[in-house]
């Protein structure tokens, strides 16, 4: 039996728990200097004048950069474009916007870097930044998508004829007439709030430039070192070979550490200009202001359904407030792309308008828009159930894509690889005894306690592979080498943000080579050492990076078997690799396996390390001369089920694998206060073949925590001038360990995908959407107030309290309590 499928704890857990991790801020360099930024206090303004004289005079200040200098010394940058290509970060309908790391004449959101200071210590840098005097002329602010869409709205970006950056539209059938003919119709609005992921480790960069070698070394808390290298090389006009990006331990990425930030380019710019190490570690308040927001979307829906709950036709008109159109605003298109998620709807129209405002750009956030889509669909399912007087689970079961209908083409063209949603729901219901809960609920009610059960379903497509994208690609590389002592090193193009994929990849390679797990070392996150790869996003590290490592290990395996066969005088077909040795499959159990097969004849088995040694040290020998010397292989893996040629393939489908999860939560709601406590959570997750259940569960636990955060607590708030009000963890309410349900379980269903050799799908983004939906559903269930529809997140106490009163009226509430 191999390692795959076993519960093996992450190999870095103990080291990180002991505090022995090396994060970017821990990286020491001699004689460093420190960067601080001058950020715009206005959401929308013209920069009239920048006066750095007061900062220059401060002892300890080394360098100050203004926008003009940065514009001269760097190129405007986007994701991984080579420097030769003129980059238009937004170029939709002729709308253009080109930005450098520092804003020169115009700022479009509060927190935008305007000037940068480097000093001998961080305090001096901060003080100098405060002394830079910037004269602004305020412009009319577009603070919300609602305002942005109003006719005559001032432009969030001067020169644009409107505030719409992109309109995603998908349609199938004839939704309008099907709704007109449907026996039942519901309408409503679902709203997901503006969010950030809040990793424990904020962004951090340390760079050095050597004139002796002409090389820039960048330590970055990043998810994608190679992409980062391309961006830095592009921005600085350097050869990518002259840039080394090293990713030390990362304290969480969740999408917000994809490369391409103003701050990182500035660190590199100063390191080269000063020929001295430059450091920058983000303050939490800067993180909230400028790292990148996500998710702020509303969905107006109209759904026609049959008496039995079958959704006949659906129209969704969604609007996303993407702030300025940099970074990961494409998440809003992904939201549209996923709809209507795991449900089969014959007539469906999806419209998503991505609207610019004078708020921070979007950054990636786990779920990458998929969570908003699932949340929207789950709310619609609950509304249909309520309107039709049906059970909420039954409505889902009758609308799920049937398990025998895969691969299934969704409205957007997305080809869903495999699934068994009914199976996951059935398994969940077996774990959650609904009848027993109803009794518990009734008993609690007599004691004045309101308990509720909610069910949610999420679909989280993974392995994003966009056509003509420099970084969203469904392929990756890995090198596997065995040294003469038989120890294995795996170098991957994928990286780990702390999630543990290095353990899963080591398990795959150890199984393929038949060697003990602890002889396999995985090296990630160094552009000088690792093969080119695209890093960590879209749950790709294990399913794509692991598959590349598998392919490379397989090549080594063939060579080991071929040489082993000669050494054992056996047919390679009759051999197996396991437990560190190559042996004849028919060999007796140890210790007899060491004995010769017949007197004076070949042995039953040979240790793999001896085969390795033979390959290295007897390259001209009789047993090795037929194979290429060396024990190293680099292979690239391209995932299946990606369709980029609509002309010949009939569709554009850029998510190859579609994991899913059914989840139930039990909440208690305080009717008098609107306070919600999550008591229990159970989930059934399906990411195809599970390489390591412990790691999948750990990932899902984190996803659930973020899903509960989205459901109940987290929210970025702005005032009318688009000034962020929630700039500290005092104001931005995060759940902590004590808010997690005391009972939390994740079970697995395994519906393999044909897109990867092991049948494994991604698991990294799972767990967020389901709890968002299940909590909303559970709160409604707990209150049992007819007509109550909680469609807007987060369900903070005051919102729940007001919703109850709006529906039921204060008098009735007193009675319920």
């Amino acid at each position: 039996m191999g390692y795959i499928g076993q519960r093996i704890p992450g190999r870095n857990n103990l080291r990180l728990a002991r505090g022995a991790g090396q994060f970017t801020a821990d990286v020491q360099m001699p004689n460093p200097c420190f960067m601080a930024l001058v950020r715009s206090p206005y959401a929308h303004a013209e920069i009239e004048h920048v006066d750095v004289s007061a900062a220059q005079g401060l002892p300890g200040v080394i360098d100050i950069a203004t926008a003009a200098e940065v514009a001269q010394a760097t190129r405007p940058f986007s994701f991984a474009r080579p420097p030769e290509v003129e980059v238009n970060l937004a170029d939709m309908d002729g709308k253009r916007l080109r930005e450098y790391a520092l804003a020169e004449r115009w700022v479009g959101y509060s927190g935008r870097p305007v000037a940068a200071v480097v000093a001998e210590d961080p305090n001096t840098a901060a003080e100098a930044a405060e002394r830079v005097a910037v004269q602004y002329r305020e412009l009319p602010v577009v603070a919300s998508a609602e305002d942005a869409l109003k006719p005559g709205s001032p432009g969030a970006i001067p020169g644009w004829n409107d505030n719409l950056v992109f309109h995603t539209r998908y349609a199938k059938g004839d939704a309008a007439s099907a709704i007109a003919k449907a026996p039942g119709v519901i309408t409503g609005r679902v709203q997901v709030q503006r969010h950030v992921p809040v990793p424990l480790e904020p962004r951090a960069f340390v760079a050095d430039y050597s004139t002796r070698t002409g090389r820039l070394t960048m330590y970055a808390s990043t998810q994608m070192p190679h992409t980062d290298r391309s961006i830095l090389a592009g921005a600085l006009g350097m050869a990518s070979e002259d840039v080394q990006v090293i990713q030390p331990d990362v304290g969480g990425g969740f999408g917000c550490k994809v490369p391409g930030s103003d701050e990182e380019v500035l660190v590199a710019f100063f390191a080269r200009r000063l020929e001295r190490p430059v450091r920058w570690t983000e303050e939490r308040s800067e993180y909230f202001l400028a790292c990148g927001h996500a998710r702020e979307t509303w969905f107006d829906f109209e759904a026609g359904y049959r008496e039995d709950g079958k959704l006949l036709a659906l129209r969704i008109d969604a609007v996303a407030d993407i702030g300025l159109p940099f970074g990961a605003w494409v998440q809003s298109s992904v939201t549209a792309y996923c709809l209507p998620c795991g449900y089969a709807v014959d007539h469906c129209e999806v419209s998503m308008r991505s609207v610019v405002t004078n708020k921070c750009k979007w950054g990636g956030y786990r779920g990458f828009g998929k969570e908003a889509a699932s949340f929207c669909m789950e709310r619609i399912m609950d509304r249909i159930a309520d309107a039709a007087g049906l059970d909420r689970v039954e409505v889902r079961l009758c609308n799920f894509i049937p398990a025998d209908a895969f691969p299934y083409g969704q409205v957007s063209g997305a080809l869903l690889d495999s699934g068994n949603y009914q199976g996951a729901m059935a398994k969940l219901l077996a774990l959650v005894d609904q009848e027993a809960f109803r009794q518990e609920q009734a008993a609690a009610r007599t004691n004045g306690r309101c308990l509720g059960l909610g069910i949610g379903f999420e679909l989280t497509p993974e392995g994003c592979s966009m056509p003509n994208s420099d970084f969203l690609q469904g392929w990756d590389g890995a090198t596997v080498r065995m040294d003469p002592g038989g120890r294995v090193t795996v170098l991957t193009g994928v990286t780990s943000p702390g999630s543990g994929n290095e353990t899963g990849i080591a398990m795959i390679v150890a199984d393929e080579l038949g060697v003990p797990l602890d002889t396999v070392t995985v090296v990630q996150g160094d552009t000088d050492r690792c093969p080119y790869g695209l890093g960590n996003f879209s749950s790709r590290s294990l399913m794509i990076g692991g598959s590349a490592a598998l392919a490379a290990a397989r090549e080594l395996r063939e060579k080991l078997l071929s040489v082993g066969a000669k050494m054992l005088d056996a047919d390679p077909e009759d051999l197996e690799l396991a437990n560190g040795e190559i042996r004849v499959a028919a060999a007796p159990a140890p210790p007899a396996a060491d004995a010769p097969r017949n007197p004076g004849g070949p042995a039953w088995s040979v240790p793999i390390r001896r085969v390795a040694r033979k390959i290295y040290s007897h390259a001209f020998g009789a047993e090795t001369a037929h194979v290429e010397p060396g024990l190293e292989s680099t292979r690239y893996f391209r995932i299946g089920n990606v369709h980029h040629q609509p002309e010949t393939e009939g569709r554009l489908s850029f998510y190859p694998t579609w994991p899913f999860m059914a989840v139930a939560v039990v909440v208690e709601v305080d009717v008098e206060t609107g306070f919600v406590e999550v008591l229990r959570c159970a989930a059934v997750h399906d990411c195809g073949t599970v390489v390591n259940p412990t790691l999948v569960e750990a990932n899902t636990h984190g996803g659930i925590a973020q899903g509960l955060g989205a459901a109940l607590y987290e929210e970025l708030l702005h005032d009318d001038a688009a000034q962020l009000l929630t700039t500290t963890l005092m104001d931005y309410t995060l759940p902590t360990a004590v808010e997690m349900p005391a009972e939390l379980s994740v079970a697995h269903q395994e519906t393999p995908t044909a897109a990867t050799p092991l049948g494994a799908k991604g698991a990294g983004e799972s767990g967020v959407a389901g709890p968002m939906a299940a909590v909303a559903s559970a709160v409604e269930d707990a209150l049992g107030v007819e007509g109550l529809a909680l469609m807007t997140l987060p369900l903070k106490p005051e919102r729940v309290w007001r919703s109850i009163r709006e529906v039921a009226g204060a008098v009735q509430m007193g009675e319920t309590a």
Binding site: P122, N123, A126, E127, E130, E283, S285, E672, T673, F675, Y713, E715, L717, L725, T726, T728, M730, D731, T733, L734, P735, T736, V738, E739, K796, P797, E798, W801, R802
Partner: protein, 298 residues
């Protein structure tokens, strides 16, 4: 990151600390657990030139029993107070309030003196001390030539708070201790504290402290104090002359006592007022239950 430079002193004698504080009262801040001052400094909301750390001064620490009161030194941590048997015995309300401050890390470092002096209206201690009729012992350097002369005064808690995050402490004056009158035995008095926050470790939206006792006439008397609703905590005497309070009576009394409640992103004014009423009433109810339990066990 703390951007501004400051100098730091950690005297072991109270007189030295008070002299340092008096030398430049505007530019000097006393430091205890640092749970409030340090975040304010990292956010740039406070930028003192001098920090005087009070933690090494023996007179300011410790919990001591006096004939009629428990004296809690300013640098006693929330954890100290929550777990001290004398506080538990003589002022269980305060122990409960301390146990619900922030999270474990905050309770291990944060101190009662710091919390009181900062006077955040939502801080757990404020309504608890108000309900308990605590007395603040304040110290300052005495004027004149005597180098080591200090001045001490006792301020009833009801006169201590001057407004939002403002106290009646003079420049250079510090909270040295809190004297909490010994309460009646659990057989004669019930106490309860309620904190309402969005997550357990956060500052409350409102908090409520209730004390209820049985008078010789058999009637109940008591009070409830509310924090977080107004810029300073408010104490409400419960309507006397009754064996029990009618449904809604306590809530009405609280609503009447709170005029113009505060508003923020976590709770707008009308909701905050309602939460003050609901949690105040719940605290009273729990205190009554505690009294009933105490009487039964007597």
């Amino acid at each position: 990151m703390i951007a501004e430079r400051f100098d730091y002193q950690s005297p072991t004698r109270l007189a030295d600390a008070l002299r340092l504080l008096a030398a430049d009262p505007d530019g000097t801040r006393p430091l205890s657990g640092g749970m409030t001052l340090v975040p304010m400094m990292t956010l740039g909301l406070a930028a003192p030139e001098h920090i005087v750390d009070l933690k090494r001064i023996p007179e300011l620490g410790g919990i001591h029993e006096e004939p009629d009161a428990v004296r809690i030194g300013a640098t006693a941590t929330h954890h100290d107070i929550a777990t001290d048997p004398r506080v538990r015995l003589h002022a269980p309300l305060l122990a409960d309030a301390a146990a619900l401050v922030g999270d474990v890390q905050v309770r291990n470092r944060g101190t009662i003196g710091g919390s009181i002096a900062h006077a955040d209206p939502a801080a757990n201690y404020l309504p608890a001390l108000l309900a308990l009729d605590a007395v603040i012992e304040a110290r300052a350097k005495r004027g004149g030539l005597l180098r080591n002369a200090t001045r001490s005064r006792r301020i009833p808690i009801g006169e201590f708070f001057a407004g939002l995050m403002a106290t009646c402490l003079a420049a250079g004056e510090i909270v040295a201790a809190v004297h909490v009158p010994k309460q009646l035995a659990a057989t004669h008095q019930g106490a309860a504290f309620r904190k309402f926050a969005r997550v357990k470790g956060n500052f409350p939206i409102v908090c409520a402290a209730a004390l209820v006792e049985r008078q010789s006439s058999g009637e109940r008397a008591g009070c409830v104090a509310i924090g977080g609703a107004l810029p300073i905590p408010v104490r409400i005497a419960l309507p006397g002359g009754q064996a029990a309070w009618a449904a809604g009576e306590v809530e009405t009394a609280i609503r009447q006592a709170i005029d113009d409640p505060m508003s923020d992103a976590n709770a707008s004014a009308d909701y905050r007022l309602e939460m003050a009423a609901v949690h105040g009433a719940r605290a009273v109810e729990a205190a009554c239950r505690a009294l009933d339990d105490g009487e039964r066990s007597a």
